[in-house]
């Protein structure tokens, strides 16, 4: 049962190890720019959701950055599949689709959690106080699981590279900008609010922000995250089960 998980992780982590410095450097830049531009730029004059803006922003950057990293395995799986045919090596082995899916998801979670640590370091540097509770751990695990599952699903159902870029442009980027990363969603016009409350990132952001800043964590939202994660996990499983190359 574990050979597939071990195999996928062995490959992903060894490839990651060789590029780690470049990858970490690249993924650390954009959150830093946001912090400098919005955190320092707005300073104390802006209050969002009852918090100093920089305190509001950091949890948003955590969800955004970990989403980018976790969901980002989509692109990597894609290149591995279409350019290098690496999936053939998994598919001829005596391992089931569930093992392959779990291997990829764990890798996505690893990347997501690594970027979370990075933002915590920024929080220290910008001396923003955060509360790290078990509830935070639970929610970041669900969050990275959710978006790794989504990334795996997308990577398996699309037919080529172009469609990957399309999904990123029309789904992922708008989601990152609208779902409470940079401002509270409650200020959005009604129509947008409807849209935003259909997207899973909204709940991740609310739960993670509340857990880090001492707000009240909605169990209902947490349950919704679990629901989304389950759905995407199942779609990822189905997609890998029927994939032929």
């Amino acid at each position: 049962m574990f050979n597939g998980i071990k195999g996928v992780l062995y490959r992903e982590l060894n490839v990651y190890r060789k590029r780690a410095r470049k990858l970490i450097l690249a993924s650390s830049l954009s959150p830093l720019l946001y912090l400098i531009a919005f955190g320092w730029g707005f300073g104390d004059r802006v209050v969002a959701g009852g918090l100093p803006y920089i305190t509001f922003l950091i949890p948003g950057l955590i969800t955004m950055s970990s989403l980018n990293q976790s969901y980002g395995i989509s692109q990597e799986i894609n290149i591995a599949r279409f350019y290098f045919h690496l999936y053939d090596e998994y598919l001829i082995a005596p391992v089931g689709p569930m093992e392959i899916v779990l291997g990829e998801i764990f890798y996505g979670m690893f990347k997501g959690l690594l970027s979370t640590i990075l933002i915590f370091i920024y929080a220290l540097i910008f001396s923003v106080d955060l509360i790290i509770s078990p509830l935070f751990f639970l929610s970041i695990l669900i969050h990275t699981f959710l978006f790794s599952s989504l990334g795996t699903t997308i990577a398996m159902v699309i037919k080529d590279h172009g469609s990957q870029a399309t999904v990123n442009t029309f789904v992922i980027t708008p989601m990152i900008f609208l779902c409470g990363t940079f401002f509270p969603v409650d200020r959005l016009p009604y129509v947008f609010k409807l849209l935003v409350y259909a997207l899973p990132l909204t709940y991740s952001t609310k739960v993670i922000r509340a857990s880090l800043t001492g707000g009240e964590v909605s169990i209902f939202f947490l349950a919704l995250m679990v629901a989304y994660a389950s759905v995407f996990f199942y779609t990822a499983y189905l997609a890998v089960r029927r994939v032929e190359a």
């Binding site: 050979n3 597939g4 071990k6 195999g7 062995y10 490959r11 060894n14 490839v15 060789k18 590029r19 591995a80 290098f84 045919h85 690496l86 053939d88 090596e89 998994y90 598919l91 001829i92 082995a93 005596p94 391992v95 089931g96 032929e244 190359a245």
Partner: protein, 284 residues
Amino acid sequence: MMKELLEVRGLVRRFGKKTAVAGIDFTLEEGAFVGLLGPNGAGKTTTIRMLTGLYKPTSGSVRYYGRDFFSNQKGIKGNIGVVHQYSNLDRDLTAFENLNLHCILHGIPRSERKKRIEEALEFAGLAEHRNHQIKTFSGGMKRRLVIVRALLHEPRILFLDEPTVGLDPQIRRSLWDLIVKVNQVKSMAILLTTHYIEEAERLCKRVMIINEGKIIADAPPEELKKDLGRFVLEVFHEDGIEERLFQSKEEALEALKGCRETCKIREVTLEDVFLNLTGRRINV
């Protein structure tokens, strides 16, 4: 009597309206060395991919040792080794790491992995390149590596999809030696696809000719050629080459005497067999 390893019955695969494999039947014994010879687009790759669990057939059955493949995939896959038409090594990993990945996926115990990998690298003549990234490998080296990688879990049958396509003649020959060694030293059954006549004739003890998704002939190469005649007289006319078949060299030489255009005698090949069966050439 040899034990039956693989039995294929009525295997069909369609892609939309296109029928890539149109119902093929054959059986394979332990230790066999069989070629699947046919032009590009004949359905060779699609066949191999169905026999190794990568494509689901539209209909038909595949049995290994009498067990249905598609309902026992996990149990049976350990008996199968595959070398694809393209090299699917990870460019960023080293030779050792690529082989190690294969060992992990096939559940080879950690204590045995190193020994098997070193052996495989030795067998392929790549021992010094153990810790080099695949990026630095030539086409021939990658081919050798994917072949020994497919053997790491000690399968009973090895599928090779056009193993020498796109390689220099010299490298092709060295790969042939490696493949023959696998069949003889490891007494592993081999099913090799190719569109190179010479490869099928020289290597395979039995050749199945595939065209438009159907197997149209299945016998040892000598037998396939025998029915046709043994020698060909090629007559070069202004508008093309005429080929006349003869049972003996003497008859062919006799005909050569009366030849007024440029003429040439050569032995019959599987290309002639294919031409005779289909009216087309394998390689155009």
